[in-house]
Symmetry: C2
Subunit: 427 residues, 2 copies
């Protein structure tokens, strides 16, 4: 079965990795000094630290502090070639990746780490009104909407319009939704009040709308309850058991009730990239490819699917969550399988996800951390969260810059990245 052994001895084994997210770059890193040739393909020129993207959307961090050029990450790795391009399909029979410009690239092993986008559960028409948060552009677009909503409220013609502009609905109360709601509430309560002359930004309504029965569904009940109380203290209105039935330019509909609001942010669901379609793999409900226990595609042992695009369950049978540590573990595992094959060593034991814990912040002073047996909340959890995230940022400069932005924001109450760009004019 080890198809890679047919390689000639003078051409190194060629591994194509599609996607420069957590899974893809971890795989490339774990293949260091493996004697292989790697081509890393991404349609963006940067790796993005998605766990902090919500802070760009809410004016805490500037974009460049959480994104790094892929080329720089692998500058000293002469075995890695970075390619800025878009993959449009795979030809597994002849082992080729097809790019949007028609170029075909052959591979010996292929690692698909193409991630996920947000999903509207079949209501894709909602996207223009309720943007989700996955890319740098998504974040600057949401930042622009939030800041423009306050601007338009300031010049609103009547009280109804003003109220609609000062109502913000966040759909989905997972970590991203909770984090967005907390920061937007702080923006309205603490950062902006003195800056407007015709509105009181403290009167803004921040709605956190969740179809399920609690906030932070993946956390222990007492942490969920704590998070709910902490959000309510910041002024967030939490609406549980409230599936959204409509999103439009004017607001949202919950069951039969309409709520007028001009800013809606989607943090409710994700849909895997089409990687599974490229190779004709079976898919789960979220579009993730069903993979073998070594993360390879069932019919193509030389193709691996890692990160948010793979459907994997943990020992208890629960789906592995779509978080950075899970993606990294899968990327490293795929590298390990490839290394073993190249060295003619026995295949590693099947992939097993090790859950480190769940973390979420509530505003700039509190957080919840659920490490299974150890559960912490409040300011201490915030520091744990902050230190963990700074540790995992790439590069000394980013660590320093993010720490500085946070400390500055913490002590002065000012946010540093409040630019409205891309829009010449509010409408």
């Amino acid at each position: 079965m080890n198809t890679q052994n047919t390689r000639s001895t003078d051409t190194p084994h060629h591994i194509v990795i599609v996607g420069g997210g957590f899974a893809g770059i971890q795989c490339a890193k774990s293949l260091r000094k493996a004697g292989v040739r790697i081509t890393l393909i991404d349609q963006r020129n940067h790796h993005l630290f998605q766990p902090l993207l919500y802070q760009v959307a809410t004016t805490i961090l500037p974009t460049s502090e959480i994104a790094w050029p892929l080329r720089r990450l692998f500058k000293t790795r002469r075995d890695v070639t970075t390619l800025l391009s878009q993959v449009t399909g795979i030809e597994p029979a002849t082992r080729h990746v097809v790019l949007s410009d028609g170029v075909r690239i052959s591979y010996d092993s292929l690692v698909l780490a193409t991630g996920a986008r947000h999903s509207y559960f079949g209501n894709d028409g909602w996207e223009p009104f309720a943007p989700g948060l996955k890319t740098i552009e998504d974040a600057t677009r949401i930042r622009q909407r939030i800041l423009l909503a306050f601007e338009r409220a300031e010049t609103a013609k009547d009280a109804d319009q003003r109220r609609a502009y000062l109502t913000f609905a966040i759909i989905g109360a997972g970590p991203t939704g909770v984090e967005l709601a907390g920061i937007i509430a702080e923006l309205a309560q603490r950062v902006l009040p003195l800056e407007f002359r015709h509105i009181d930004t403290r009167k803004a309504r921040i709605l956190l709308v969740e179809a399920g029965p609690k906030v932070l569904p993946a956390f222990a009940d007492n942490l969920s309850k704590y998070a709910q109380k902490a959000l309510e203290k910041l002024g967030v209105e939490i609406m549980l058991g409230s599936p959204v039935t409509q999103c439009s330019a004017d607001g949202i509909e919950l069951g039969g009730a309409d709520i007028d609001c001009k800013t809606i942010i989607w943090a409710a669901g994700v849909q895997a990239s089409p990687a599974s379609e490229w190779i004709g793999a079976e898919r789960d409900r979220a579009g993730r490819a069903v993979v073998a226990d070594n993360l390879s595609a069932p019919n193509y042992p030389e193709i691996f699917l890692v990160g948010d695009t793979a459907s994997v369950v943990d020992r208890a049978g629960n789906p592995v969550p779509g978080i950075a540590p899970a993606a990294k573990q899968m990327g490293a595992y795929a590298a390990k399988v490839i290394r073993a094959r190249l060295a003619d060593k026995p295949a590693p034991a099947p992939f097993r996800y090790r859950h480190a814990g769940n973390l979420a912040t509530i505003g700039r002073r509190a957080a919840v951390a659920d490490f299974g047996r150890l559960r912490i909340k409040g300011p201490l959890a915030w520091w744990v969260w902050g230190i963990a995230h700074i540790y995992f940022l790439i590069g000394t400069r980013s660590r320093f810059a993010v720490a500085w932005s946070w400390l500055w924001s913490f002590f002065t109450g000012h946010n540093s990245a409040r630019l409205i760009t891309g829009a010449q004019m509010p409408d």
Copy 2:
């Protein structure tokens, strides 16, 4: 003549300032505690430190370090109302400013500080191929073009195409052109070389094209010569006496000769905003309004034109340069005239521009500074330039952040803001 004295005593004198650049915000600052009501209108939500914009375009600084929300600048000034809106005209007879949404705002005094855009000397069709540098969006667009050019060179299909992508033409050798050329040369020579596998970025051609006989026309000859030599040492090719006769998607034409290049940046000329048209004022060649010696519009003593939109000459009869210190002096002067009128004091002496000096950097280690009798060049001038610019940045945080970005770039050779955003795909 003092029309403002007709105001009623219980409504404070209302001053509308259009434009939140150096002239506009200086005017608002100089009117502190003047007992007036100020409305500051800008179509953007931020004040931009334009002298450092070229560093955003060339990946040295992230956008948020050189732009600040106007609202925050005047947060504690209860007499200042900030309005994010676009002015489309003036009705001087009835003293109203007209906004794009049809709203009319009345004023007692009006300060027009609407600045300038780049100008193609009648060849506006060149703009798509040769973008200029005036806004944050301009800077990120140029940054994207520069970075994508290297990406496309890496995957170019033949040597000619590769050469065109690795040729960068900067049109105009004033301070902006010189600064852009120096940093792009350093990017190609020192920052990027190790990151590409198929091209040698050090072979990139950086052309600095100037119609006149020397670089930095406003500087003393020995400083111009030094700048030219320093640029040539960085690998920049300087083409003097070379007016551009055509810009297209394929390159530039100089006289009869075509040069294939995929990246063209326009740093050659500026054109004032249409403020002069709004009030029917006479205009100079660059579209600037001819003003009275107190910076007021000839027919409307209550309207002032300040900054890049006003045509003013110094004592020697030379046009006042379009630089930040000049704009600030004019903004402060208009405030002084208004204050004197309100206090029924004698009008101040006519506006007189005090030239502090000219500064320009060449790459990250050298600069030229021309203070008239004191002329310095080399690394010392770079430190003078750096300290001056940090001093004039607004806010402790920005000063710290910019200083840190520069020191980091200086010592590590890495640039911090190398994101390609806004483009999903290179074409």
